[in-house]
Symmetry: C2
Subunit: 400 residues, 2 copies
């Protein structure tokens, strides 16, 4: 059985950690696992490289930025392979390109187009541990590319898919919890979660795995294990809903505190005006989310959406342009709200989940403002001050 292990930057932050991972992999290999390791850059290396680039240019050329950033992972995999060799374990490091990973799309956020696993397989067949630089590949022009946020997870799942392998994502948390344990210490660890729920939770701000990687897992039906490095296998397994027996309406709660809510009020009703507003926002490449629109009794529009606090400067520019273009609109930014979301594939078959959510909040005197729903999630904004109570009450209600 081939297993793809992925180790993140914090698991490989220094040379001692690299040696520990090497020794762990060596033991598993001795026990018969055929192992492909996908490694990220050591610790904060990628950030340091980006800082250097920013000192050269405010907006560094992205082809060159990719080539620069890719060196981080190349260094880790070479060092990890040396460490395995030092332990007497045959191994070989490969860059994304050497590993057969072809990408398409823009530099710094490319997507994996295809994986040709024949080089990896030939090394596995010669008894080697194969160590692949995550986060990177090569496009058809022969340029080095990177995959953007969470790219190493995507590399790992894509390699697992091409090898018909299991994928194991090792990180510094010991699995996926129904609620962030830093917020709700009684939160339960989830043993099994469906791809859909995991994607929804990732989208809604639970920072453990990137959506794209989970999506790829779903597409190619790759079982993805998420757990702590060097620990027992008591983490979380992400798989198809069909394979999960448990039947709960809600699997997890996520909190997103990194948001501004933008309210645009008393707009004269006009589709072209609304479209114009979103065109302008789109031009600035703002990540906007949780859009809701209501028609008031007066026949005007109330429009609101959330956007990330980290994109504040972009948002301000966008709003300035909006105000210039559409003089009639009034815009308010609220920074004292958080988004609380309940995710669960069971929601589809359990009716009355939304009612139960709103009842629970109301009984505890927690006002909620904007509401959006998807097939498997309900999100609403509440005041920051109610974060703890709302989480606890909802967790108790849905047995999380």
């Amino acid at each position: 059985m081939i297993v793809v292990h992925k180790y993140g930057g914090s698991s490989l932050a220094d040379l001692d950690k690299i040696k520990n991972i090497a020794s762990h992999i060596s033991k598993l290999s001795d026990a018969g696992e055929q192992i492909v390791v996908v490694a990220s850059a050591m610790g904060k290396t990628t950030n340091k490289l980006i800082e250097m680039a920013k000192k050269i240019s405010e907006t560094p050329n992205i082809r060159e930025l990719d080539s620069l950033m890719a060196t981080g992972e190349q260094q880790t995999v070479a060092l990890l392979s040396m460490a395995l060799n030092e332990l007497g374990k045959k191994s070989i490091s490969l860059t994304g390109s050497q590993a057969g990973i072809t990408t398409i799309g823009h530099h710094t956020k490319s997507r994996i187009k295809s994986v040709d696993p024949k080089i990896i397989i030939s090394h596995l067949n010669r008894g080697k541990v194969v160590i692949v630089a995550g986060f990177q590949g090569m496009n058809q022009k022969g340029d080095i590319t990177t995959l953007g946020r969470g790219g190493s997870d995507t590399s790992a799942v894509a390699l697992a898919a091409s090898l018909g392998a299991r994928c194991e994502i090792y990180t510094d948390v010991d699995g996926i919890y129904s609620i962030d344990p830093r917020v709700y210490s009684d939160a339960k660890k989830i043993k099994y979660i469906s791809y859909e729920e995991m994607m929804e939770m990732a989208n809604l701000g639970a920072g453990i795995m990137e959506t794209r990687a989970v999506e790829l897992g779903k597409k190619y039906n790759v079982p993805i294990y998420v757990g702590e490095s060097l620990r027992d296998h008591d983490g979380t397994l992400i798989l198809n809903q069909d394979e999960i027996m448990e039947d709960k309406p809600i699997t997890g709660i996520t909190l997103n505190e990194d948001i501004f809510m933008v309210n645009i009020q008393h707009l004269p009703y006009s589709e072209s005006l609304v479209a114009g507003i979103f065109n302008t926002l789109g031009k600035f490449e703002l990540n906007i989310d949780m859009i809701s629109q209501n028609i008031t009794t007066a026949g005007t529009l109330d429009l609101s959406f959330s956007c990330f606090k980290r994109e504040e400067s972009l948002l301000k520019k966008a709003i300035e342009e909006l105000k210039n273009k559409f003089e009639e609109i009034s815009i308010e930014i609220k920074s004292d709200l958080i988004m609380i979301s309940l995710v669960g594939i069971g929601m589809v078959s359990h009716s009355g989940v939304a009612a139960k959510v709103f009842n629970t909040l109301a009984e505890n005197k927690i006002p909620f403002y904007h509401i959006t729903t998807s097939e498997i999630s309900i999100s609403c904004t509440i005041s920051k001050d109610h974060k703890k109570t709302a989480t606890e009450m909802l967790a108790r209600e849905f047995d999380l």
Copy 2:
């Protein structure tokens, strides 16, 4: 006219230096030069990477070491290309492999097998400055390889050869001097020097350019300019002897203080014994040089050779094995000698150069011990204490 510029690590030691080089290149490009830049790793990067590897393993796997070290140059070229882009100058960075450099031979000391310049040419034709990572290439297995000491010079000359270009090596000295100016401050800068003399001087310890790069220049008749970065063109040009008009017997003096002289005395005369001694030395891959052998009047052999001080630990192991194998021999290591060498292609046509050298030394009461000669050089060992006097007297005698 295509020109290959090579910048060493000290010219690119920090981001400000990289920006300065970018601005210099940009101006030359505006003035019409088609420029290919070969860059080394920034400052001490390569040493730092080797240190990391040594912390993982005393003898790191050399394939992985190559892949690790190659990231240094990849980083520099990406940053330099960003800096050019920032100045509005179109440019592209290429790894050794992307630039079409194929290597053969062992990892960490590969040789360039061939250069396919078509990618470089296509970028030049589109008006770009092309920036190539020095010191590296890819072997036929697709592994990243490095070229060993002075590898970036070799990359630059090989690219120049494949492009029919001139090669300009920019460094932190302003040219090649007849004698190291730190030893003899009146030393003259050499305007033209032949490939042969330059190779001999490099071999004899003048640390400016690696022999291999000069050899390659000779083979493909690439004119090589050596001078200081960002300065006027008043350095040294290395070219064919035919193109040099000047007719002096001696072009330069080199001093090598990094040597031990090993004397083996009173050996019974036997070819197989001498061969056995060199076989043993060869097994330890010691760089031995300046071998001299004399038959004494008593019919025994005196044998001596020089070897690098930096290889002391290897030498000690070799001597131990020699003593075990050949119990009859007595070995003495002398560490108080230096080698002084006079190099000049003119020596071939000027008779009596050796006599003039020895006379000069004798007149100044400077004893000289071991002597070796090649077609274009005379070397002898003298005491460290006589370094200054010997250099000055010989420089005056030969007008250097």
